[in-house]
Amino acid sequence: MKSEQLHIKSESRSNNIKYLRSAYWLISDILTITKRSLITYTRIPQALFFSTLQPVMFVLLFRYVFGGAIPIKNIQYVNYLIPGIFVQTVLFGSVSTGIGLAEDLQKGIIERFRALPMSKIAVLAGRTVADLVRNIFVIIILTGVAFAVGFRVETSVIFFISGLLLLLVFAFAISWGFTIVGLSAPNSETAQVMSFPLIFPLTFASSAFVPVASMPSWLRGFATYQPVSVLIDASRKLMVNFPSTASNWTVDETLIWSVGALIVLLPLAVFKFNRSG
């Protein structure tokens, strides 16, 4: 009896070690692929420079060109704008996950990865994690620009950083959706044009640049309740204490959207990757 118990115990222990070992290799694989993608970004500094320049130009455009014509009650336009620009930036950043993946598929390096004993999920996860890191980098630069053009935090540093983390989490979840786009596209150019109709309505038919109340009634419903608006409203609440007209629970709703997107998109992406052999 005792020896049987011992046997079961040692078996479960060896199982534990097996799980630990595969968890170790999964993380190691993800980090290796992440590092590879990040090195690629540093080897093509032009791409990183111009993809950072774009949101900066959006800030300048809306702050100094359009901003004067968009009066919003109880808030300065620059404070209204910046959370919206942050969200737009990280979402556009998540599009590059799909583009990068399509490019890798085209070049055949993924073919080699598939024949290695590495974890398959790591091929995708390494990419999404690298783009999360890239988004963090871009957001830090953009924060500097935001303060330079007159943006001020109306809550506290902790809340402001929570707002940034929230939109990074959301973008990370969405980037899994763009891995599916990247796996479906025949090449990186197509991945880019396929992403556009997905990301455009979500970013612009939202509360990012103007209040949704100014939109026609048929659009207003979508613009108010779609997840990107919920995220923007949550970020505004956390950064500049500007209440949402739609809900008092935007932060919780954003987290639910993010987790939900991850639960649906991640397995779909892995399924698609395994099938596209």
Binding site: I39, T40, E111, R112, R114, P117, G277
Partner: protein
């Protein structure tokens, strides 16, 4: 008897989207320590076989074993037994040579402390040590292929898949790569190599499997394949394609031997070269056509290919 390195048992694969039967009931074996040349024109199904045997692609039917391990159920064990170097030189052009090798070593789950040494050793072996810190973008085609081959060897696998290893390389680089492959074979590595070049198969392979349109059409040693053809080949050459075509009609209506047309020449396979040549000369003489060349020769592997597939290998 030793377990064969590769056992392929009636593999079939159809790509439903493109409606192409990529593989149709293909079977063959590769003995451990030998080189198999998988020969066929573009789109014959060579890469599909490699992708299936390297666990990247699942076959519709049939089975395969690598060192006795079952492809469908023991893929993860199999993955540690082979290296794969591809025709597209699947390396990352933004990383340096060293970074590429370290990345592949890590993803192959080698022990961390052995990685640096192994990578240096491979860079040395493939004459890339001076270029190790340069991004691959700056490498020549030959250097990339060598790095690709080095990357497939990080875990010193007993089996190596080489998918058109020298396609698109200049003659000098090709020779260098051949030498590297021959050295690996000498050290005991089993190699499955796909190629469109008969010369390559002839030089490197112990056994040649010819496939076309997904079907295995010949399997044997290079000399066996050559013997299948009969003993000699008569080649007639003409001034232009029009004349060649007319001559081909005349020849094929009179002679039952297997014959193929290749630009401005006609090749006729025969047991008795001089006799067939005489017969042909009489035929041509009685027509208005002008013969510009006549040659009787031993069949080359090129001719084998031509007669098996009805295709010009260089097309």
């Amino acid at each position: 008897m030793e377990t064969p390195a590769i056992q392929v048992n009636s593999l079939s694969k159809t790509f439903t989207k493109a409606k192409i039967k990529a593989l149709d009931d293909v079977s063959f074996e590769v003995e451990t320590g030998t080189v198999l040349g998988l020969l066929g024109p573009n789109g014959a199904g060579k890469t599909t076989i490699v992708r299936i045997l390297t666990t990247i692609l699942k076959p519709d039917s049939g089975s395969a074993k690598i060192f006795g391990l079952n492809l469908s159920s023991q893929a993860n064990l199999i993955k540690r037994q082979f290296g794969l170097a591809g025709q597209y030189a699947a390396v990352d052009e933004n990383l340096t040579g060293m970074e590429n090798l370290v990345m592949i070593s890590k993803l192959t789950h080698l022990q961390k402390r052995t990685i640096k040494n192994r990578c240096f050793q491979l860079l040395e072996q493939f004459d890339l040590i001076e270029a190790k810190d340069r991004p691959l973008k700056t490498y020549s085609g030959g250097m990339r292929r060598r790095l690709d081959l080095a990357a497939s060897l990080v875990n010193t696998p007993p089996l190596l898949f080489l998918d058109e290893p020298t396609t698109g390389l200049d003659p000098q680089s090709r020779l260098m790569l051949w030498e590297s492959i021959e050295k690996l074979v000498k050290e005991g590595t089993t190699v499955l190599l796909t190629t469109q070049y008969l010369e390559e198969a002839d030089k490197l392979a112990d056994q040649i499997v010819v496939i076309n349109h997904g079907r295995l059409i010949a399997n044997g040693t290079p000399s066996e394949l050559k013997n299948q053809l009969g003993t000699s080949i008569v080649t007639l050459t003409f001034n232009d394609i029009q004349q060649t075509k007319s001559a081909f009609e005349i020849v094929t209506s009179d002679i039952k031997n297997k014959s193929v047309i290749e630009e401005t020449s006609i090749k006729i396979l025969t047991e008795d070269g001089p006799k067939t040549a005489l017969q042909l000369l009489r035929l041509i003489d009685s027509s208005a056509l002008v013969l510009t060349g006549l040659n009787i020769s031993e069949p080359s592997l090129d001719d084998v290919f031509l007669s098996l597939t009805g295709l010009n290998n260089h097309e």
